[in-house]
């Protein structure tokens, strides 16, 4: 089965790293086929940034996202641009509600969590907002197992930041709210078996 995930936001939010970690979790950890592509402007901060990950159990013939199954939106601009055209029944959108206050019409089921605010207030570092979002992804969709994401983080992040990133990911897993989610779920529940 082919699964397409798009992570989009501003440069500096760690959008690309989040996609790389997701790709590693699916490919290196779970041994599935994976294709990861990215797009960003010349600016290191504040420009539009996007990272696409295609995950499949078969060989991937086309490496880019055609219609995302899951969109992680970390800016209003990204939601407006990529939210349209998703499958309103099977598609899923996770938004950083700290930065996205206006929700356009015609979107698939919406999952929300204040990723940037949680990163700033609980982890004193807004740079881990991307990990909070990835944790939420593990909860709302069975794209990859939560444990695989954690292993990929441990392999991709400098040792001194490992615990911080893992904690941020756990927080995202707990904090996300949306259709069909039990709000009291802790990490470890609801994983892909």
């Amino acid at each position: 089965m082919r699964k397409e995930v798009r992570i989009a936001g501003f440069g500096g939010q760690g959008v690309i790293l989040a996609g790389v970690i997701l790709a590693q979790a699916a490919g290196a950890v779970e041994g599935r086929e994976v294709a990861q592509t990215q797009s960003y402007g010349p600016e290191a901060r504040g420009g539009a940034a996007r990272c696409d990950v295609v995950i499949s159990d078969q060989r991937i013939l086309y490496p880019k996202v055609r219609r995302a199954d899951v969109l992680l939106a970390m800016s209003g601009q990204a939601l407006a641009k990529f939210g349209q055209g998703l499958d309103v029944v099977t598609g899923k959108v996770v938004v950083d509600s700290t930065l996205i206050t206006e929700i356009p019409e015609g979107l698939p089921p919406l999952y929300r969590l204040p990723a940037t605010r949680l990163a700033e207030e609980e982890f004193k570092n807004r740079i881990v907002a991307n990990m909070v979002m990835l944790g939420a992804l593990a909860r709302v969709d069975d794209t990859v197992a939560f444990e695989s994401l954690k292993r990929a983080v441990a392999e991709n992040v400098a040792p001194k930041f490992r615990d911080l990133n893992l904690a941020a990911m756990d927080r995202g897993y707990q904090a996300v709210e949306g259709p069909g989610l039990d709000s009291a779920a802790g990490p470890g529940k609801g994983q892909r078996s």
Binding site: G12, P42, E43, A44, R45, G46, G47
Partner: protein, 270 residues
């Protein structure tokens, strides 16, 4: 937005690509204030090289060329020689001016072409991700010098003066008022005028060289590292160790290239 920016920036090109806290925007603001005081916006011809600083002319409501990496100065020379009535100002970075375009830089100074060259020095290749530059301090860690920079950096102002520049000044992004004055002097100066501006790059230099300083901390650190020239003259070499001199470092007069060329043509105007 302030009046100067409303008047002189191309609103449709905003926001500027500079990262939060980057010194480039402050330097551009000082430049616009100088242009406003001199009332010369319609005589300007701006040239930008490659790198963050090369984007500065893009936002200004004036004629501008955004050119190849390292080639901002030769494009500026071509512009000045063909249109000597224009006030040509080149915006370039440390890598662009004295790394990739180093040879162009020293020969433009030697020829004493009537250009104003503004070199933004952030001590690193910022846009490409924090690689070591010819201005990176000895021992500094960057993405491409993980064990510390084994080289000695250029002092761009001494290089400019030795090569024959006739106006040389150095300021920092923390001296906007002094920069306005320096821009006015440099643009009025008949010959190769060079201004180095030491700026904070909180994202790349802040992360690699300064161990995670944010913009205000970085700017405070720059201000601590500089000494005005007059004060430096009274200091011993030991006291001056690790300090950078700021202010007007050199000013002289000698024949300028476009005037020499005009004289060869018999002084006739094309």
């Amino acid at each position: 937005m302030n009046r100067i920016a409303e008047q002189y920036l191309r609103q449709e090109t905003l926001p500027m690509i500079f990262c939060p806290g980057c010194g480039d925007g402050t330097v551009l603001g000082a430049f616009l204030r100088a242009v406003d005081e001199m009332k010369i916006s319609d005589q300007l011809a701006l040239v930008g090289g490659i790198g963050c600083s090369g984007w500065m002319p893009v936002y200004v409501n004036a004629d501008a060329i955004h050119t190849l990496h390292g080639r901002a100065i030769p494009v500026g020379i071509g512009l000045k020689v063909t249109r000597p009535e224009r006030k040509v100002v080149v915006f370039t970075g440390d890598g662009d001016a004295i790394g990739i375009g180093g040879n162009h830089f020293i020969h433009a100074a030697r020829r004493n072409v009537d250009l104003t060259v503004v070199m933004i020095n952030n001590s690193i290749y910022g846009m490409t991700g924090g690689q070591m530059a010819p201005t990176t301090p000895s021992g500094a860690t960057t993405q491409t010098s993980p064990y510390g920079n084994p080289e000695q950096p250029f002092d761009a102002c001494r290089l400019a003066e030795a090569a024959g520049a006739t106006y040389v000044a150095r300021w920092t992004a923390g001296h906007p008022r002094q920069l306005v004055k320096a821009f006015k002097e440099a643009i009025d100066h008949p010959g190769f005028a060079f201004i180095e501006v030491v700026t904070q790059c909180p994202v790349q230099a802040g992360r690699y060289i300064k161990g995670g300083m944010d913009a205000p901390e970085f700017l405070a650190d720059i201000r601590k590292s500089v000494v005005p020239v007059a004060q430096a003259e009274r200091m011993t070499p030991e006291e001056l160790a690790g300090k950078t001199r700021i202010g007007l470092l050199h000013r002289s007069q000698r024949p300028e290239l476009t005037q020499q060329l005009a004289a060869i043509r018999g002084g006739e105007k094309r």
